[in-house]
Subunit: 109 residues, 2 copies
DNA sequence: ATTATAGTTGAACAACTGTTCAACTGTCAA
DNA sequence: TTGACAGTTGAACAGTTGTTCAACTATAAT
């Protein structure tokens, strides 16, 4: 004897996005849900930088930075370019900028 | 003998947002970075619903749903209203809608 | 060739996260 | 008041995550 409105549930059910899409969506947000990665993205929005510069800027080890850059890279949020001994990273998509600004607006209110 | 451009680092450093803001920002994304919570938000965008309905819709226990709703509630993303034996949840802010659609656009490309 | 630096990688570890379970509160109906 | 149902809560557990460490590759300079 459940006290739920089945009509409501059945009305909403077909409007839910595809499961695959939902996972991609939450994976995207998961990637942003870490202060280190957010800082990396923010920094790269200002300037392309190599791993050592990013490490210095964020006061972290190169290893830690490299690990996080790898995550951002496999999500295609940043791209890497090797020049000499250095690997320079840059935003691959300025869609990211919009989302960041959007969220900042939400948070800052 | 570090091979980094200190000028770049020093130029970017003051442009980085305040630490507190960065944490709020990543906390916000962290909250979205879970498929259950995303689905809850999506569902509530269609209709306010009680815990039992949400549990049915998402095929989860009421307990699990309740736990996640609590997280969303303390972040002020949803609001609760008790009516009789039921507790109805609704989006407290349709800023959320914009961010979701924004991100969806990014993911869906 | 040798050495030093830049960056990457994988394993290990601690910290955190989401779900389950069981016990609980509060509300309605009989 | 008793019973049934809606929802909440905290502890426990497994799975995941981020950083560290040490070993590694690759490039440049001497």
């Amino acid at each position: 004897m459940e006290n739920v409105d089945l009509d409501t549930v059945n009305k909403v059910k077909p409007k839910m996005p595809d499961t695959t899409l939902l996972y991609e969506l939450s994976d995207f947000f998961k990637l942003m849900g870490d202060s280190t990665r957010i800082r990396l993205l923010w920094a790269l929005e200002e300037n392309e930088m190599c791993v050592g510069e990013l490490a210095l800027l964020l006061n972290m080890t190169k290893s830690a930075v490299s690990h996080q850059l790898k995550a951002l890279r496999s999500a295609k949020l940043v791209k890497a370019q090797k020049r000499g001994k250095n690997v320079f990273y840059a935003l691959s998509d300025h869609h990211v900028r919009t989302v960041l600004e959007m969220a900042l607006e939400h948070v800052a209110e």
